[in-house]
């Protein structure tokens, strides 16, 4: 498979100026089989992919009655989460990944390393503002 080159947006900050934003359009398979596009932040610092809790309703994933995982981030605040999985599509490539459905509905869509970085070699190109994904054999 050839590499996929995905252009990324730039955000502007008053102090630092333009900052490369690794926002990646990812189609998520919904419960009825259709795919819905979400902008995920491709986050090499995140152990695994995480999404807000309500995403489980959209994809038809049955959450356990209580959170079975917890997540810690830069604030040292521990957030409860549910381990699960999702079916994704980037351009024409479909794949499944394990993920966390966070108990909160205010967390962003983060595409982390677990599974995804075993499927793709990921290259961040801040100069040309793009991400290049190359499927690993």
């Amino acid at each position: 498979m050839p590499s996929i080159r995905i252009p990324c947006p730039i955000v502007h900050h008053r102090t630092f100026g333009d900052i490369f934003y690794p926002g990646l359009k990812v189609d998520v398979r919904l419960a009825d089989g259709r795919y819905q596009a979400f902008e995920f932040i491709l986050d090499s610092g995140a152990d695994c992919t995480m999404v807000p809790r309500y995403m489980a309703n959209l994809v038809g994933f049955q959450l356990p009655s209580q959170p079975n995982e917890s997540v810690s981030g830069i604030s040292n605040e521990v957030m409860p989460a549910f381990a699960g999985e999702m079916q994704l599509q980037i351009q024409t490539e479909q794949f499944g990944i394990r993920c966390l459905y966070m108990e909160s509905n205010r967390v962003p869509f983060l595409l982390g390393r677990l599974d995804f970085f075993s499927l793709y070699n990921v290259q961040f190109n801040g100069r040309d503002c793009c991400i290049i994904l190359t499927k690993l054999n």
Binding site: V11, H12, H13, R14, F16, G23, K25, L30, D32, R34, Y35, Q36, A37, F38, E39, I41, D43, G45, A46, P52, R53, Y54, M55, N57, L58, G73, I74, S104, N105, R106, P108, F109, L110
Partner: protein
């Protein structure tokens, strides 16, 4: 009109989720569940050119 202006100011200063159809923002909510339950979002789910994004106000540094 005044309500609309207030909403726009509140929206510009808020972290949350936006739904965009054909490049135009059609809905905003501070939490994803609220956004996904909006009727105009539900009818567009799965449609081409419809995307849902997390949004950080311009000028705010985001670190995850």
């Amino acid at each position: 009109m005044e309500k609309k202006i207030r909403e726009n100011i509140k929206r510009a200063n808020s972290v949350g989720f936006v739904a965009c159809y054909r490049g135009k923002e059609i809905a905003f909510a501070r939490d994803f569940g609220t956004l996904a339950k909006k009727s105009k979002v539900k009818v567009l789910l799965g449609k081409k050119d419809f995307i849902i994004k997390h949004n950080v106000p311009e000028g705010m540094i985001a670190v995850y």
